[in-house]
């Protein structure tokens, strides 16, 4: 294209440019690395020597005219004044520009944290259905029907589905996993569980548990203590102390209620721990031979431990949350804190 035609084209085209974006396209078209002017410049070396200087001059002139046109046009868009662009000044006091990330629910975060601790110790994760049979939820776990030991497990039974219920703990997965596999087993089971209850600051009718159990030829109470102490130190900090108190659960013998030194008062006694200096966080024990019998394990050959904890309780302690209902209100101001 001859340089005068190009000049005319430029002058006509700049009038059609109506936005900064279009102006940028325009600039690239003529002044860009592969733009029209660059193309012209690139043919200069091929010209006879006497013509080279002349065209060179013309091109440079057109270039400065073009730049002036672009600058003028820019002023039109910015209302006369030249806008301060990022290339000249960057006020780092301005908010950064980024895609905002969403958050995982705090319960999910706590579950994943605990899972990781156990998976790193060699445990595998299993899950099971929330609608369970009465057998897996009770009988298979040595909880007789019509017995006071069931009082701790109020249960949602289902209408029109006899002997079916919403699991009241994650322990049925123990029965399922043991029935489907032979030892050695080291398993954790996180999940939702259900117990009829009126909702208040410390009660819900749905919450989350993590169940864990290990079965092998030489599993002992001492090993249970070791595993749980490791867990507590990883989740609550190395300085945490742990104590085991005798307790009763139908599916373990011996059974223990496990407490950690209060993370608020460090064991001195405060309102969170009820002045005791200790916080109950989980139940545990050696798997009862009757449970082994139900799943066809030989309790002479194998021994095992099991433990279970409420995730909401752990999360409340960990984050200092005082009302359990907050977890399921899903207030974004709450969710975005984690």
């Amino acid at each position: 294209m001859d340089i005068n035609t190009l000049k005319t084209q430029i002058e006509l085209e700049i009038l059609q440019v109506n936005s900064p974006e279009e102006l940028e396209v325009f600039r690239a078209k003529y002044l860009g690395r592969k733009g029209a002017l660059a193309e012209l410049t690139s043919i200069i070396p091929q010209l006879p020597i006497e013509q080279r200087a002349g065209l060179g001059q013309q091109v440079n002139m057109l270039k400065s005219q073009l730049q002036a046109l672009i600058t003028d046009r820019q002023k039109v868009f910015s209302g006369g004044a030249t806008k301060v662009t990022s290339s000249t000044i960057c006020d780092l006091g301005m908010p950064g520009i980024a895609q905002e990330l969403g958050r995982l629910h705090p319960i999910t975060q706590v579950i994943e944290e605990i899972n990781t601790v156990f998976v790193n110790m060699g445990f595998v994760v299993a899950d099971g259905p929330e609608v369970e049979t009465e057998f897996n939820n009770f009988t298979g776990l040595n909880i007789p029907l019509n017995h006071p030991s069931r009082d701790a497990f109020d249960t949602f039974y289902l209408k029109d589905y006899p002997k079916m219920l919403l699991r009241s703990h994650t322990s049925p997965v123990q029965v399922r996993a043991m029935k489907s596999r032979k030892p050695p087993l080291a398993v954790i089971v996180p999940g939702r569980v259900y117990r009829p209850d009126a909702v208040d600051a410390s009660h819900l009718f749905m919450f989350h548990q993590i169940e864990g159990f290990m079965v092998d030829t030489n599993v002992t109470f001492s090993g249970l203590k070791g595993i749980l102490e490791t867990f507590a130190k990883k989740v609550f900090g190395e300085e945490i102390k742990m104590r085991f108190r005798p307790h009763f659960f139908p599916f373990t013998e011996p059974s223990a209620e496990v407490e950690i030194s209060c993370i608020i008062c460090k064991g001195k006694g405060c309102s969170v721990c009820g002045r005791k200096g200790w916080l109950e966080i989980l139940g545990a024990g050696m798997i009862h031979p009757n449970v082994f019998k139900q799943v066809g394990y030989d309790s002479k050959k194998y021994s095992g431990f099991a433990f279970g904890m409420g995730i909401e309780r752990i999360a409340m302690l960990k984050y200092g949350i005082n009302d359990i209902r907050l977890f399921f209100e899903n207030d974004l101001r709450f969710l975005k804190q984690f």
């Binding site: 958050r103 087993l185 203590k225 595993i227």
Partner: protein
């Protein structure tokens, strides 16, 4: 009554064991032995312990049971001398008991029933020491006779009941199931309807007590009572439990019967009460009739002391083991160095196997003395589970700016009307409240409530998701399906260098989330089809996996959401996961440059862009590498009912550089196709 809390006082315990510890030190010891002391309260010169008793230890529902424990923990002797019962019917002037009969309908319901007849009772106030002890453990004093039965209940965990003998219609007692239509006014003056599930004590005509639960008003001991019948019995725990559940009553008595009383001590306890009655009310024992059998047989467990090492992982000397067990009331017969036969006392119905003995030893030895060790966890195969995929999905969604919510899996009936489609659902039997009634068949209704809640908190953008099970009947069974629900509402403010932009949520945002997710999961094809005016079916690899849509106006009104659109997604993850392909295959990067050509045109709104793109893809073969929509506008320059689009076509050959001359005819062909088939106007 506070059910699982047992009150006992320091001085009462001292009747049976010497205590060298302060009340608080004793409380700590008890707690660490499995009797969790909740509170210690100093009261009237004594200390009241409130102890949580686990359901396996009915013997701890008595002062003697706890005293026995104190003896074992503190290495002292349990002393029952104060119970000296030199009343082996000393003054029992044998009544002609032919006049008096006890009839047990079923030995299963009641294995033993003892009736003691006492004459010339002087009903009056109890002495202060008795009143005080009862009141300290939370039992109101009534009169000397009733107080004595309660005193023995707390001391021995054996519930007793005293009837006014003269109020019985005849000299006969029947232990039988209630008949349909029978009624009983219990001592709390409430009339209860009875049915054959309930075991009662009856005279010839009427029920006079709900067995093991509560006595009747008509036959209760009053200030005028002269003669009494003292009942001591062994009722079937399950029958008592069912009875009190049906009657909606819970008494100290039923609480103990449900957990099981020590049958071997019933007669002893009955005589303990008689002795107190003789001493405190001037009564004379004139009759003693018992029916049923009490097995004298004791349980024995063969125990190998090495079991301790095996189960606990520590070594406890066999001498120590023996001391602990003896203190707890077990009788031991040594077989050899490690083995012994352990005879289980009648009050320890909970001890049935070697593991129970291990717990006894561990408890008293002290859990804190068991050192911890780390077991070797052997490698095992993973369980097949969607967990990893679910977490992957959650991370993708949070990466897209969505926040994870967790809502209840049970919903109220009203929430069902927030579902965009009606589906079958399952219900909870006898729900406690209407919020806990229905197993949800969809997640979105719960999320819509979260939208409403958050809008009320003045959130400008509500963008949340949840992954949870939903439930639906499928033939005779109830299926659970893992689902993903997403709702978007409001606008995202983007502060960019050119100023503020408002990114208003739309159905395309939902589509974008799903497409990104599907693409990350390697799902080959996602397609959409309008089902109704608001709802779009979503297909993955040709199979329907769920819906996306815009919340209908009448639903928004129910939620009180005004001037906002809410967009939602509900997709079965089980179905989506069937289409997942996480295997990646590297595609060689192109060596030669591509040529990009745009086409801008105006197209009628009723023509789907997807159809246009699909047609272009076919028309552009084989040079066309990709085609995408790069701009979109509607405005004054565009005729109504149409929109302006810019489509960018990328042409490339893998083996050499493509020339403009090769591209032009193809691009012209595409333009022609647009004009002819889709009636567009090029701009």
């Amino acid at each position: 009554m506070t059910v699982n809390l047992m009150k006992v006082t320091y001085n009462w315990l001292k009747d049976f064991v010497e205590i060298g510890l302060s009340p608080h030190a004793l409380a700590d010891k008890l707690t660490m032995a499995g009797l969790e002391v909740k509170t210690v309260e100093e009261k009237e010169g004594d200390f009241v312990f409130e102890i949580e008793i686990t359901s396996n230890r009915p013997d701890w529902l008595s002062v003697v049971g706890i005293a026995r424990e104190v003896a074992a923990i503190t290495n002292k002797k349990f002393n029952a001398n104060c119970l000296m019962l030199n009343v082996k019917n000393p003054q029992c002037k044998r009544l002609n008991l032919k006049q008096f009969n006890v009839n047990i309908e079923s030995q299963k319901d009641c294995s033993f029933y003892s009736a003691k007849i006492l004459r010339n009772v002087k009903v009056g106030q109890s002495p202060d020491w008795l009143k005080k002890r009862l009141e300290l453990v939370g039992c109101r004093s009534v009169n000397n006779i009733v107080d004595i039965t309660n005193y023995v209940l707390f001391e021995q965990a054996q519930p007793l009941h005293a009837f006014d003998l003269d109020k019985l219609s005849s000299g006969e007692i029947f232990v039988r199931r209630a008949r349909k239509g029978e009624k009983l006014i219990t001592i709390d003056a409430v009339e209860k309807n009875l049915n054959p599930e309930i075991l009662v004590i009856a005279d010839k005509n009427n029920p006079i007590a709900a067995a093991g639960v509560m006595g009747g008003k008509d036959t209760e001991v009053s200030w005028d009572t002269k003669n009494i019948l003292l009942e001591a019995a062994v009722f079937n725990p399950a029958v008592v439990r069912l009875g009190r559940q049906i009657l909606g009553l819970n008494s100290e008595s039923s609480y103990r019967f449900e957990r099981g009383v020590n049958a071997q001590a019933v007669e002893f306890c009955s005589m303990r009460a008689v002795k107190l009655m003789l001493d405190l009310s001037g009564a004379e024992l004139v009759g003693d009739k018992s029916v049923g059998k009490i097995s004298k047989k004791t349980k024995s467990i063969y125990f190998d002391c090495r079991c301790i090492q095996e189960k606990l992982g520590i070594n406890v000397a066999s001498a120590k083991i023996k001391t602990i067990l003896t203190h707890l009331g077990f009788s031991l017969k040594a077989k050899d160095k490690n083995n012994m036969l352990i005879e289980i006392p009648g009050f320890r119905s909970d001890v049935n196997c070697a593991e129970d003995i291990v717990e006894e030893v561990a408890r008293i030895y002290g859990y804190e003395k068991i050192h911890s060790s780390l077991p070797a966890v052997k490698p095992q195969a993973k369980f097949s589970s969607d967990r990893d995929l679910v977490l992957f999905v959650k991370n993708i969604l949070t990466g897209l700016g969505l926040n994870e919510a967790i809502t209840y899996s049970l919903i109220d009936r009203e929430s069902l009307s927030l579902c965009s489609s009606t589906s079958a659902f399952a219900e909870v039997r006898d729900p406690l409240s209407k919020e806990q009634e229905i197993l949800r068949p969809a997640i979105v209704p719960s999320l819509l409530r979260c939208v409403s809640y958050n809008l009320n908190q003045k959130q400008e953008l509500v963008n949340i998701f949840e992954i949870a099970k939903v439930y639906f009947p499928s033939g005779a069974s109830l299926d659970e399906e893992l689902c993903l629900g997403i709702v978007l509402c409001g606008e995202r403010n983007l502060l960019l260098e050119q100023g503020r932009l408002k990114d208003k949520m739309s159905l395309l945002h939902i589509k974008g989330v799903l497409e990104t997710l599907a693409s990350r999961l390697g799902v080959k094809e996602v397609a959409f089809a309008w089902q109704t005016k608001e709802i779009v079916d979503v297909f993955a690899n040709g199979k329907k996996i769920g819906t996306i849509g815009c919340c209908a106006q009448q639903i928004l009104e129910k939620l009180d959401i005004k001037h906002r659109d809410v967009f939602m997604l509900e997709v079965s993850l089980n179905k989506l996961f069937d289409c997942v392909e996480l295997k990646k295959n590297f595609v060689t990067l192109p060596k030669f440059p591509a040529i990009a050509r745009d086409i801008s045109f105006v197209i009628k709104n009723n023509i789907s862009v997807q159809e246009v793109l699909d047609a272009i893809k076919i028309a552009g073969k084989p040079l066309l590498e990709s085609v995408e929509v790069t701009d979109y506008y509607q405005g004054s320059q565009i005729p109504a009912g149409s929109r302006g689009l810019t489509i960018s076509c990328l042409y490339r050959l893998l083996e050499r550089t493509l020339t403009e001359e090769e591209v032009s005819p193809v691009h012209a062909r595409i333009a022609k196709l647009l004009i002819e088939k889709f009636e567009v106007t090029l701009r």
